[in-house]
């Protein structure tokens, strides 16, 4: 996880402190449904330091997921900017955005979003397969498999490598999803209600995994949730209301 390759941004030149890993400024997003327009985000400012774990909480429909999608480059904002380690990453060409999603950002979703045709191990390997072409993959396969197996074993799924998602429990599926998000070595993990579909015990297990990743490896995490008790596990909590951010 090297960070030295990214250029220093102009905005950060004023301060001597290193730029935040993720910086969002004046982000606006509105959805149009029929003739009604819905202003979901109305100028969101948000920063995440490297190695920080921040929770974003808010009511349903307050734009938490939208914010996460914009940060994860899955969607384009109407206004505002997203900087990753001081480099502006919104508005990049599609190919470059795809590459960043693959290498710098890991995402975990509420509904796990595993590919049903693939086994747990193959699901974890998927980002690496996306990264490499067929021939590069044949070369990188051994190392990739070793790394994926290691991650899954670390999350207690050593026995379930070759199970299909439908043969796994919710907690197991979410742990596979976290392993998939981490396998490519991202600097930033975006988690969208990762415990939302899980019972309390499994959810606690997932949170344990995430917080330990943050603590032991310094992984920067944005954790979106509507549950204040989960949010409190983070270093910092940010509340999203009426399309703007209020720090709690």
């Amino acid at each position: 996880m090297s960070s030295g390759t990214l250029e220093r941004p102009a905005v950060a030149a004023l301060s001597t402190a290193p730029p935040p890993l993720l910086a969002v400024h004046g982000l606006r997003k509105r959805y149009r449904s029929g003739d009604r327009t819905l202003e979901v985000l109305q100028g969101v400012d948000f920063e995440l330091a490297a190695g920080e774990c921040v929770s974003v909480i808010g009511q349903s429909g307050s734009g938490k997921s939208t914010l996460l999608h914009l940060m994860g480059l899955l969607d384009a904002a109407d206004a505002g900017s997203v900087h990753l380690a001081g480099r502006r990453i919104d508005g990049l060409p599609g190919r470059e955005r795809d590459r960043l999603r693959n290498t710098e950002i890991g995402m975990v979703f509420q509904a796990y979003h595993l590919l049903p045709e693939l086994t747990a191990l193959e699901n974890v390997l998927a980002p690496l397969m996306v990264r490499h072409g067929v021939f590069a993959w044949l070369k990188a396969r051994g190392e990739a498999r070793r790394r994926a197996t290691e991650l899954l074993e670390r999350f207690g799924l050593g026995e379930r490598l070759h199970h299909k998602p439908r043969q796994l429990s919710g907690g197991e599926m979410q742990r596979v999803a976290i392993a998939r998000a981490l396998v490519g070595g991202p600097r930033l993990l975006l988690a969208d209600e990762p415990t939302g579909n899980l019972d309390a015990e499994s959810g606690a297990g997932i949170l344990e995994v995430l917080t330990s990743l943050n603590r032991s490896e310094g992984l920067s995490i944005v954790l979106v949730t509507h549950d204040a008790s989960i949010a409190s596990r983070a270093d910092r909590v940010v509340r999203l209301a009426a399309g703007r951010v209020e720090t709690v």
Binding site: H69, D75, D98, T103, F109, L118, P127, R131, V134
Partner: protein, 544 residues
């Protein structure tokens, strides 16, 4: 890499998509079978056409023909050079074939062809289509003493389908003469008992009137007294001696039909027989029977003359057009009967010269050379393909139309794939979103579905290839099976004259069909693939 993996997984888990390629499979199989059968049919037909027509046909426009075939053949050889390996003169005239069946005269319109029995085999496969094994070896216009095939020698079956031919030949002739004699004696006995006067002439002992007829015609149309030239067997006058001299009795004298024959004649089998519903050939006349042929003499205007011939064999090319139209006789006899031999010079005239080229010679090129060497207003030079051009073109046309129609079936299958792929894209919307969130590029997503289409096309076309080849190679077994199951004749040989369905599998055609089917499968997955590539990742992820 994920593209390949997902393609394979989808192929293994999405059976509905495989169902969509069944139509591709069937389309490909049908195309292969139809092409194989049509090619086989076309080839069989060409072989048969070519079997009777020589490579090139050199003919005069007039029915009377041209004189001195030997000189013409020399000229042809000079123009054609080494390409020519064989030549034989023929005389062809329209004629009427008359024969008696149970006291009833049946008349058929035929093409009477005089052939040179010594050289005709060198230019065409004529001999192969005869019914007597010895005649197939070397044609003779002498009646054989039995031994005609009762099994169709070309069908390769084991069941005798022509039991009537068992007795054909001299035995049949002797039996018929004996029966006629008995019948006549009884009739005369009855007449005598009734006190009637004996009939003025005995009809059972025919005379040979034709030469006198020709002489009369010649005498009427030429200045030379023809009758002098018709004096008995004298090569001294320079006239070529008649090779059939011994075989025929002196003109005007009576002959014994039990031991002697008239001039030999080989009619097409379709003129003398028909196939009944059980597949047995029923013959109206047999080798050994006598028939009368009426044909025009040479000269202007032509006069119709008749003569009696004895059937010595049947000709069966399995081309019904030929088998029910052609009658072969010795060329020298026909020339003499038609008055085509110049009484002064002794030179005979012929209608046409059949030319055989060496294997692999350029048919069109030699034909054009000959066309240049001879004046076009007197002679026509045509290849066997030219002669049957419309028929061959019709078959080619039929094949082309069938191919277009069948390819449309595969194209329809393509629309099936299109529809099912759209369904699969909708079903897989969320997975597409997931892949995009993992950094998969739009082109990669499109690649999954294009690759999927390619795989499906290959599976469908591959299965179709296997099925098509299996059917084409075993089509006659399948036909027999279907006939056994339904109890109906699927492929009636009396219509097509083939006992087995001929097939020829052309690798190039098969390759085109398979490639075309795969291309259609890929082409019909383009639209769904583009749709998948353009899906918005967030909306795709939210898709339930």
């Amino acid at each position: 890499m994920y593209k390949l993996l997902l393609c394979c997984r989808y192929l293994r888990t999405r059976w509905i998509a495989l169902a969509s390629v069944i139509s591709v499979t069937l389309g490909v199989a049908t195309m292969i079978v139809v092409n194989a059968v049509m090619a086989g049919f076309s080839n069989e037909m060409q072989t048969r056409i070519h079997g009777i027509l020589s490579d090139l046909i050199f003919e005069s426009h007039s029915l009377s023909g041209f004189q001195d075939p030997d000189w013409h053949m020399e000229e042809i050889r000079r123009a054609g050079g080494d390409e020519i390996t064989g030549m034989t003169p023929t005389v062809a005239v329209p004629a009427m074939l008359n024969f008696q069946v149970r006291g009833q005269w049946i008349t058929r319109q035929v093409m009477l062809i005089g052939i040179d029995q010594a050289t005709h085999a060198s230019v065409s496969d004529f001999g192969r289509y005869l019914q007597h094994p010895d005649n197939r070896h070397q044609l003779s216009f002498d009646l054989r003493d039995g031994g005609y095939d009762t099994i169709d020698s070309q069908a390769g079956g084991s069941e005798p389908t022509r039991p009537a031919l068992e007795a054909a030949g001299w035995p049949h002739r002797r039996m018929r003469v004996e029966r006629e004699r008995l019948w006549r004696e009884r009739l005369e006995a009855e007449r005598a008992a009734n006190g009637d006067a004996a009939p003025p002439e005995t009809s059972g002992q025919p005379v040979r009137p034709v030469d006198q007829q020709v002489d009369a015609v010649l005498a009427a149309t030429s200045d030379t007294p023809a009758s002098t030239a018709r004096a008995e067997g004298e090569p001294a006058t320079g006239r070529p001696s008649d090779p059939f001299r011994q075989a025929r009795p002196a003109e005007g004298t009576r002959m014994d039909p039990a031991t002697e024959q008239f001039t030999g004649l080989v009619p097409g089998i379709g003129l003398a027989s028909f196939r009944d519903s059980t597949g047995i050939d029923r013959f109206l006349v047999l080798p050994g029977d006598d028939v009368k042929v009426t044909f025009p003499t040479a000269g202007t205007p032509p006069k119709a003359v008749s003569d009696t011939f004895t059937i010595v064999d049947f000709y069966e090319s399995k081309m019904s057009e030929y088998d029910s139209n052609f009658v072969f006789v010795p060329i020298a006899d026909l020339q003499r009967m038609r008055g085509m031999i110049d009484p002064e010079s002794g030179l005979a005239s012929v209608n046409s010269i059949q030319i055989k080229l060496r294997e692999g010679a350029n048919l069109e090129e030699v034909r054009d050379r000959l066309r240049k060497a001879f004046p076009a207003d007197l002679y026509a030079v045509a290849s066997w393909k030219d002669k049957q051009g419309p028929l061959l073109a019709a078959v080619d046309m039929e094949m082309a139309v069938l191919n277009i129609l069948l390819f449309l079936i595969v194209a329809v299958a393509g629309f099936g794939i299109l529809a099912i792929f759209f369904m699969i894209v909708v079903e897989k919307t969320r997975d597409i979103g997931i892949l995009k969130s993992l950094g998969a590029r739009a082109s990669g997503i499109a690649g999954i579905f294009l690759g999927y289409g390619l795989f499906l096309g290959m599976v469908g076309a591959g299965a179709g290839l296997a099925l098509g080849l299996a059917i084409a190679l075993n089509i006659n077994t399948i036909r027999a099976g279907v006939e056994w199951l339904t109890g109906q004749r699927v492929f009636d040989p009396s219509i097509y004259y083939f006992f087995t369905i001929p097939t020829i599998i052309d690798p190039a055609t098969v390759a085109w069909i398979v490639a075309g089917a795969v291309a259609i499968a890929v082409a019909s997955s383009v639209l769904p693939a583009l749709r998948a590539a353009r899906l918005h990742p967030v909306e795709a992820l939210r898709h339930e």
